[in-house]
Amino acid sequence: MNDAFDLRMGESHIEVHKFRAGAIIVATLLALVIQSWAPIHFAKAAVLDLPLLVTIYFGLSRRNPSTGLLLGMAIGLLQDSLSGPRVPLGLYGIAKTIIGYLASSIGARLDTEHPAARFALTAGFFVAHQGIIVITRRILLAQPEPWFNMRLAIAALVNGIVAVFLFLLLDRLRRPS
């Protein structure tokens, strides 16, 4: 799984990236720590979902749906654990599992290295992630939750913009092929 190889879909040529040892674990932990700590000092930082951005990035880069969904599940469950007793274990887990799977599947078919593609995909995944959480809350937990509001739209755009720069930073963790 760690070996670099090429996926050839017709005429396209998409590279699977390998990362430095421990890069995924460190990036994941860092995202979780910052996510739980930053809003204390910067209230507006609460619109960011860094664990989701990390899930999307590694999903798009590794391009392996199984790896993507397992990584998404792990990150989601950790985020559930850190979100306090009001958030049941599995809420973010289910959402990030699906997003990890989708990101890996799309990453295997499209070139996702361009900043515009990264922005659009992240904003789309953010909305999808929120939609899954709303479905889970409404159907499984019987908790009323609005489907869409302006804050969600702004948060999707903000996360898309942040993702463009964050992904450039995470690109440095890649092993040279």
Binding site: L29, V33, W37, L78
Partner: protein
């Protein structure tokens, strides 16, 4: 056993993982359990990083605020100093108003407790221009019923008497003036003697024989013999006693703060009034008006 095509393996894994998490959710809802063990582990693993991040961020923020982000400090300091000056001024004004309110409350209380005595409060609007006579000027005069020789007091004690009355203001000769005096007696021993001014802050009790016993700190009150002031108003306290020839030299500190008068009460009567105690029957003396005239000492 049916073989799963490799391209569907990830879908099967996805379905399995989601089903597992749905079951996890269901278990939590059914048992009202929140997966405490997993949370404890996760929080325990992440909290050291959070703590380190918080300390690091605090250090960076302190360094930034205390060493780099100081370009507006001088301007802020100047602005804060200006605000402080303004607030000091406001504070002084408020303190003055509070003190005035306290004084007026005392005056009001005094007036209410002596409702049967005609009196009017007046504000001190001026003082004597020179040191030759110690007078103050009031903002009330003949239109308010003030006449010459009326007594002027504060709730603390005797102030003086009206020496000139104009239409809208009047002049009061303070008790400390050389020409001023009031019929008085020692509260404890009852020794009567006029008390007058010397042009100094302290008063003098003039005609007490050397044989009479007077104690330091003894209260001096009005005797009512001057026919201006009612009996038993505080005049002052004995602060110094020296033997003299033929009378003791007794100095009295005025009960009213004559150097800091702002509001006073003018007794609107030229007849002696009794302000001794509320409810006590009045034993007003003769109604003839008269100036303060030191009388020979009379021992009760």
């Amino acid at each position: 056993m049916v073989a799963i095509p490799s391209r569907h393996k990830s879908l099967v894994l996805l379905a399995g993982v989601i089903v597992l998490q749905v079951l996890l959710l269901a278990v939590q809802i059914k048992r009202d359990s929140q997966g405490r063990l997993i949370r404890v582990w996760t929080v325990g693993a992440v909290s050291p990083f959070e703590r380190a991040g918080s300390y690091g961020f605090g250090w960076v923020r302190d360094v930034w605020h205390h060493y780099f982000a100081l370009q507006n400090t001088a301007k802020d300091n100047e602005q804060l100093r200006r605000q402080l000056d303004t607030l000091k001024l406001q504070n002084a004004q408020l303190q003055g108003k509070a003190a005035e309110a306290d004084r007026l409350a005392v005056l009001l209380n005094f007036r209410q407790s002596h409702g049967d005595v005609p009196m009017i409060t007046a504000r001190v609007i001026g003082a004597s221009a020179g040191t030759a006579s110690l007078t103050i000027q009031l903002d009330r005069g003949e239109r308010d019923g003030i006449r010459r020789d009326m007594g002027v007091i504060t709730p603390d004690g005797v102030v003086g008497k009206v020496v000139e009355s104009y239409a809208n203001d009047s002049k009061v000769l303070l008790l400390t003036d050389k020409e001023s005096g009031v019929g008085a007696k020692l509260a404890d021993s009852g020794i009567q003697s006029p008390v007058g001014g010397q042009g100094e802050p302290l008063l003098v009790m003039k005609y007490v024989p050397n044989d009479d016993s007077v104690n330091l700190g003894e209260r001096v009150i009005t005797s009512g013999t001057d026919r201006i002031f009612p009996r038993d108003l505080p005049v002052g306290i004995v602060t110094e006693i020296k033997p003299g020839n033929p009378f003791k030299q007794i100095r009295v500190k005025p009960a009213a703060d004559l150097e800091r008068l702002e509001e006073v009460i003018v007794l609107l009567s030229l007849h002696p009034v009794d302000m001794k105690k509320a409810g006590e029957p009045s034993d007003a003396q003769s109604s003839a008006p008269g100036a303060v005239s030191p009388s020979p000492v009379v021992k009760r």
